[in-house]
């Protein structure tokens, strides 16, 4: 993905973090624009037409969640949020406002790059239309035939479990809030019944993970939601 130059806008008030992100991303051949305020960031996103924007939730002039809401008003580009660990509620708010993924401070470079790649890939993939087949680990899912196999053996999933898995696949590598999942699988009236979600997610793990207690693909983002790790990128 480094042959076509990718443009990234970083909206972050801390100079050191901006610098290390810039060095990292430029090392990956990306073009980086820095903004230290939300105002400047909005202008940059408008002018530079970036492929991705990285937003820090604690900005001096505007609340990060508010900024994301504004961006989402006119832009469909992927938004990656960086926030401190204690801000679970803020992360959820940011995701609900339209952010695509988040990174918890402090984060390492590999983690950051993985997220950015996943976001860019998913964005490109969406544009290309849904794939017919999807695989992670030993699991393979035929989306057209609605068939799931693990290590070649067919796995029986209940309708809800399948819908849950399909939703996760549709948003693979992206964090989904519990609210998102509940809305997509159970419908808009069940967005508060998170215990259903947890139980079915447990069932999915039992059926698809090698060690359900130490899952490799169907991951919980504690306090936020779930993420399906495809293992690519």
């Amino acid at each position: 993905m480094n042959d076509v130059s990718i443009t990234v806008v970083i909206i972050e008030d801390d100079r050191q973090i901006r610098r290390f992100l810039r060095v990292t991303l430029e090392g990956e051949g990306m073009i980086v624009h820095e903004a230290d305020t939300a105002r400047q960031g909005l202008i940059d996103v408008g002018n530079r037409k970036p492929d991705l924007v990285i937003v820090d939730l604690g900005l001096p002039d505007l609340d990060g969640v508010e900024l994301i809401r504004k961006l989402r008003g006119w832009a469909t580009l992927p938004i990656l949020v960086i926030s401190a660990r204690t801000q679970e509620a803020e992360k959820v708010a940011a995701l609900d406002a339209g952010a695509d993924d988040y990174l918890t401070k402090p984060f390492g470079i590999p983690e950051c790059l993985a997220r950015i790649r996943a976001l860019l890939r998913r964005h490109a993939g969406n544009a290309a239309g849904p794939a017919q087949r999807f695989g992670f680990g030993e699991v393979s899912v035929d989306l057209a035939a609605r068939q799931v196999t693990k290590g070649g053996q067919p796995v029986h999933l209940t309708p809800i479990e399948y819908r849950l898995l399909a939703t996760l696949i549709r948003h693979a590598d992206k964090v989904l809030t519990q609210r998102d999942l509940l809305r997509e699988v159970w419908g808009p009236s069940h967005t508060e019944s998170s215990q259903y979600l947890r139980v079915y997610m447990g069932h999915l793990r039992q059926k698809l993970e090698d060690n359900p207690a130490d899952p490799r693909h169907i991951l919980t983002e504690t306090g936020v939601g779930y993420r399906l790790l495809s293992g690519r990128g």
Binding site: E88, P159, Q195, G202, R205, A213
Partner: protein, 891 residues
């Protein structure tokens, strides 16, 4: 020589008095023999002189009585407008105490010291207003006539034939800083009167003609001069004591006035007060309640209480004693209080009664020949007792009336029964023996029901005996007069037995009352001793006082702004009165002289350091009128005050300990944090300088960078712990949701992956674990900390086992390692903040992880614990309660 040295105690007392007076204002009394001598004039002149000295002077109340020369002296001095008090449709102009206090002049002129305020004012008397002004540090000039002095009131009344009701207690007069006698010879006064220079008022004019006779004026002048001379004499003594001119006399005299129920009690008390004053002695006023006085009408009781109140006003300590024998009781009390002289009234009774029943004075003289006895004449024809509200006996035997009516019935039935039995026995026994049966009945009735029924029984017995058993039977004939003797004997027996019974009963009642009081106090003290909080004290005090005094009770405690407040559910009280009582540490309200119109009695809860609150009691008037009751109440109040003060200081001490503990913890945090944060920072600085300043080959550089990354991770973990702890300290905010534990175990393992690289990790989750309600983020934190701990304290390559199972209705999660195990000592210490197992450890990490875990698990209602496992290693376990889970819809 030693005789002339000042007594240290006395010096100290003198110092205290001076200190007390320095804060208080000075009272100057312009004292005269009667109206018209020029007190107001002299007072205003003095005030003008002070004003010229630059003192701020306020005219509070000045009565010029329309005299031009006096009015001229008002010139240039600000006057305080009077306040309007409405009373029974009239609007009365009164001295505005609050306004005066608010204006806080250096000196205030308040005429007519003895004035009685309109009902509804704060104080009943103006001298009390003056007291408050003095207490506020304001100097006061006031005027007073000799006839208004309490102790001389009756003397003046006897001389002039005019009794004034407005009086001032001698003690406030004696406490005045200065008394200036305004003297005018009677001839000059009469001349002024003739010139119309003395204002007398319309109605007073007639009385005045009688009053302003030369003889009267001379007598009044003499009284006034003598009173001032007494004062000067006392000052001289004080001066001599101060200067230690001669050894001070120590033996203290104590007088005891025996207050009877008769109308002359007030005069007796005034005489005693004067006598005590001239002897510089303390004095007591005592009333003895005996079975005889118990039968007195309520009005007399009421009068006795009034007399005791007067005695208190005159400076006596008052007391009501109870005893079957007045003389013995009085003497016992006198002895216990070291009384040297007794003052009694001479009963006006004369003639045969005097021989039958000698007066108290005679009996006292006989019983205690070694005590000085003063006998004061009692007037015979004083006005009848005032109308008083019905008042139960001081030591009321409430069963008495019913018992009496039942007694007469019993007398009748008893005689009837004996007659019936005698009718049978009569056939066998002589009449002389039969009558013994009647005697038995009479004794029985008298013993059980007292004198009246006993007497009735004796009469009935004689009549029945005569009627039924003495021939001619069924008739009362003249020859039966010989049975008069029988009747007399029976009557005498009945009376004696009845008397004895009444006495025993009375003593029992008195003992019971005393026992009840002691018991009440004992119970209160005992419960208060166990009270740990002010709320408990309020509850205990309210309950006890309510029960003992039959009153509704409210306790008011000061808040942060020093305003007293009652609990929300307490009896409604007048907050203003309570606040006044709290600030002045004096009683007020019903039954006192301050704000007597209030519905309740307000007492300060005094304690050694300061008042701790106010207690308000709303009770029947008589319940608190008795001096003993008031004393009991005062004692209770000070017990409560002491308890409140104790609790206050317990709080203060606890705060101090908490502060010390906090200080210790802070120090521990600081040293721990500085160690654990500085170590990685030092290595980071070192590694970074190496990278920045040395030429390194790429492999070396990468190695250094990797170390920096590890150190940074360590640092980050510690900062996270510190922040978590701070957040938990501020109060654990749970955000619970229904979820399986597996999920959290998974995320924790993933989160701990960076430290667990060198260890083998095994998870043992029991199948079909229930879903639980907990805060996933926080429980993940607990697991992360336990995993981190296990990784830190067990050698690389070791195995770490995470397991979860259900034991006894709770989910038990454990993390075990095969390291060296726990250090010896109590495991609970591991979970203390900064209580790391090993004292000086090279293993990094602020010892916060386990403390955080403990706080989180406790907030979930679980328990965290640690133990060693065989053959070696440690196991940390925490539990989470299992609640019935909501059911899930089937697909």
């Amino acid at each position: 020589m030693t005789d002339h040295r000042p007594d240290p105690d006395q010096l100290l007392a003198e110092l205290r008095r001076e200190e007390h007076q320095a804060a208080r204002g000075r009272l100057k009394v312009f004292f005269g023999a009667c109206a018209g001598v020029g007190k107001t004039f002299a007072m205003l002149e003095a005030a003008q002189a002070r004003a010229r000295e630059g003192v701020t002077v306020l005219l509070g109340v000045v009565e010029t009585h329309g005299r031009a020369e006096t009015a001229a002296l008002l010139e240039g001095l600000p006057r305080l407008p009077p306040t309007q008090v409405e009373y029974r449709g009239h609007v009365l102009a009164e001295f505005d105490l609050d306004a005066a206090l608010a204006r806080a002049p250096q000196l205030i002129v308040v005429d007519e010291y003895a004035h009685t305020n309109a009902p509804g004012s704060r104080h009943a008397k103006r001298w009390q207003d003056v007291e408050e002004l003095l207490a506020a540090g304001i100097d006061v000039y006031t005027s007073l006539n000799v006839q208004h002095l309490e102790s001389l009131n009756d003397v003046v009344g006897r001389i002039t034939g005019i009794v004034v009701r407005e009086t001032v207690p001698d003690r406030v007069f004696d406490a005045a800083a200065e008394v200036t006698l305004i003297d005018l010879p009677p001839d000059e006064l009469l001349a002024r009167l003739a010139d119309g220079k003395v204002y007398l008022g319309e109605q007073a004019a007639r009385a005045a003609r009688h009053f302003f006779r030369k003889g009267n004026l001379l007598a009044l002048r003499e009284l006034a001069l003598r009173r001032v001379a007494d004062r000067v004499d006392a000052q001289m003594r004080a001066y001599r004591a101060d200067q230690s001119i001669q050894p001070v006399w120590h033996a203290r005299e104590r007088l005891l006035a025996c207050v009877g129920a008769g109308p002359g009690a007030d005069r007796l008390l005034r005489s005693t007060a004067r006598l005590a004053a001239s002897l510089h002695a303390d004095w007591l006023a005592v009333h003895v309640e005996t079975p005889r006085t118990q039968r007195q009408p309520d009005a007399q009781r009421q009068r006795t209480l009034k007399s005791l109140a007067l005695a208190q006003e005159l400076g006596a300590e008052t007391c009501v004693l109870a005893g079957a024998d007045a003389v013995a009781t009085l003497l016992a009390y006198a002895q216990s209080r070291d009384v040297s002289r007794l003052v009694v009234g001479r009963s006006p009774q004369g003639g045969w009664r005097r021989w039958l029943r000698p007066g108290l004075a005679e009996r006292l003289a006989q019983a205690a020949p070694d005590i000085d006895l003063y006998v004061v004449a009692q007037p015979a024809g004083e006005p009848a007792a005032p109308q008083g509200e019905a008042l139960a006996g001081f030591y009321a035997d409430t069963g008495a009336p019913q018992r009496a009516s039942r007694g007469y019935l019993a007398a009748l039935l008893g005689c009837a029964a004996v007659t019936a039995i005698a009718a049978l026995l009569h056939l066998v026994f002589d009449p002389a023996n039969v009558i013994m049966l009647y005697l038995l009945a009479v004794i029985g009735v008298a013993l059980r029901y007292g004198r009246g029924p006993g007497a009735a029984a004796s009469l009935l017995a004689v009549l029945a005996f005569d009627f039924f058993f003495v021939p001619p039977r069924l008739s009362l004939s003249v020859s039966d007069t010989q049975y008069l003797l029988t009747f007399c004997v029976m009557l005498a027996v009945a009376l004696v037995v009845g008397q004895l019974t009444a006495r025993l009963r009375f003593e029992a009642t008195v003992a019971t009352q005393r026992e009840r009081r002691t018991r009440a106090l004992f119970d209160l003290s005992r419960e208060l001793a166990g009270a740990l909080t002010a709320e408990q004290i309020v509850e205990i005090a309210t309950r006890h006082l309510g029960a003992v005094f039959g009153a509704r009770v409210a306790l008011l405690l000061p808040d942060g702004a020093d305003r007293v407040r009652a609990a929300a559910d307490a009896m409604p009280v007048d907050a203003a009165v309570a606040q006044w009582v709290y600030e002045h540490a004096e009683a007020a309200g019903r039954g006192t002289r301050t704000l007597p119109g209030a519905d309740a009695l307000y007492l300060p809860l005094r304690a050694p350091m300061r008042p701790r609150g106010v207690v308000a009691l709303a009770a029947e008037a008589h319940a608190l009128a008795l001096p003993e009751q008031r004393r009991l109440l005062d004692t209770c109040a000070s017990q409560i005050g002491l308890a409140l003060e104790r609790v206050h200081y317990v709080d203060v001490a606890r705060d101090a300990i908490v502060a010390m503990e906090g200080e210790r913890l802070r120090n521990s945090v600081l040293s721990s944090v500085s160690h654990d944060l500085r170590t990685p920072l030092t290595s980071l600085t070192g590694l970074a300088s190496l990278l920045a300043e040395r030429e390194l080959d790429p492999a070396q550089a990468r190695e250094l960078a990797a170390s920096m990354r590890d150190e940074t991770r360590r640092l980050s973990q510690q900062v996270t712990n510190l922040l978590d702890m701070a957040r938990l300290e501020a109060g654990v905010q749970l955000n619970p949701a229904w979820q399986p534990i597996d999920e959290v175990v998974g995320t924790a393992l993933r989160g701990a992956a960076p430290w667990l690289g060198a260890h083998r990790v095994r998870t043992v989750l029991a199948p079909d674990l229930p879903i639980l309600r907990f805060d996933g983020v926080l429980i993940e934190r607990v697991l992360l900390n336990l995993l981190e701990n296990a990784a830190k304290y067990s050698p690389a390559g070791g195995e770490i086992v995470v397991s979860a199972r259900v034991v006894d209705g709770a989910l038990v999660v454990s993390v075990s390692d095969d390291g060296p195990g726990l250090p010896p000592g109590p495991t609970a210490r591991l979970f203390d903040k900064f209580g790391r197992g090993e004292v000086e450890s090279a293993t990094p990490g602020v010892g916060l992880g386990l403390a955080i875990g403990k706080a989180i698990v406790a907030a979930h209602g679980g328990i965290i614990d640690a133990a060693n496992r065989a053959p070696h290693g440690a196991v940390f376990t925490f539990t989470l309660p299992i609640e019935p889970a909501p059911s899930l819809p089937h697909e």
